[in-house]
Amino acid sequence: MKVSAEVLDQCLLNDPRGQEALYKAYASLMFGICLRYAHNRMEAEDILQEGFIKVFKNLPQLHSKEAIDGWIRRIMVNTAINYYTQQLKFQNEVSLKFESIDATFQEDALSKLSYNELLRILQGLPTGYRTVFNLFVIDGYNHKEISEMLGISENTSKSQLWRAKASLKKILTRIL
């Protein structure tokens, strides 16, 4: 928990000082999430603003102050998913055989890429691939949870992840 209970109480009273303190505590981490889910920085900024407004407006629904970290994170991820809802197009694939994509690179080779380069590659993926990759690989949701969040089947979630990794492998192999 990055803020005190007093700050949360101020936020519950719609006090701008408390809201600013909460924003400053979580803005960097949340902006990192937004950048991963967004196509570009401008859209990430829109998602960040929309997400924090939701946080402040829905704060009375937070049952336990200790759960604030995960709660804000979930709101930000959901805001990002909703932002791209119109663009999310998934092919339903029920019988796809997923071959291993355990592409390997020399560790020092991958580490030569900066955050910005990795981010740019991720942002360049189609929205569906990028969303599922983010949810599964970085935010730790399983395919069942992803299927419920995005309204798709588990197999579709798996196929999107597979395709995302295949695309990343192709791009990274070309670069490294």
Partner: protein, 190 residues
Amino acid sequence: MQEKDTIEEYYRKAFTEFEPPPPEHAWGKIKDVMHPPETKKGSMEGLKKGFAGIYRSRNLFPLLAAAAMVLLLIMIFFSYSNKHSIRGHAYAGEARICMGTAYLFKVYDKAKPLDTVKLIRSVLVDNNGFYQFSGIDNGHYLIRINPLAGSEITRNYIPSYYNQDSASGEAMVIRIQNEDPTFDIHLIPR
């Protein structure tokens, strides 16, 4: 020793604690949504608070400027409401003329009309002999009709003022006083 790493693991490691600096202006935008500045809102509540603020600050300039603007609009309205129109038809004999020009002269000294007249307006006479001057103040005027140059009428009639048809004396001065009169003008035969 060279370890192997998968794309998945590498991205997970790289972005799990990814905390880039947030955009500088973002908090301002969020704050504006959560606490909109009252003066920016168009609501009546915002307007009332705005006036109350002006009164409290004793800065009456905006209030006076608004009052002056309202006064100006009222004056413009009344000045236009005092305007009149003069209309009529032009005749050559018994027939209305086809095309020509109507001139309106302002008479500043009724006792000496010919020395103190000034042309203030001219309009075309339509092919049914109709003319009209709009937005005319109260006062004294002369109206003259010139038939279309080169037309058949100019061979038989001369440019004429109102009420010269029966007499060749001085043009008749007309008076406009809170009315929209009609003056038919008969051209003088050569």
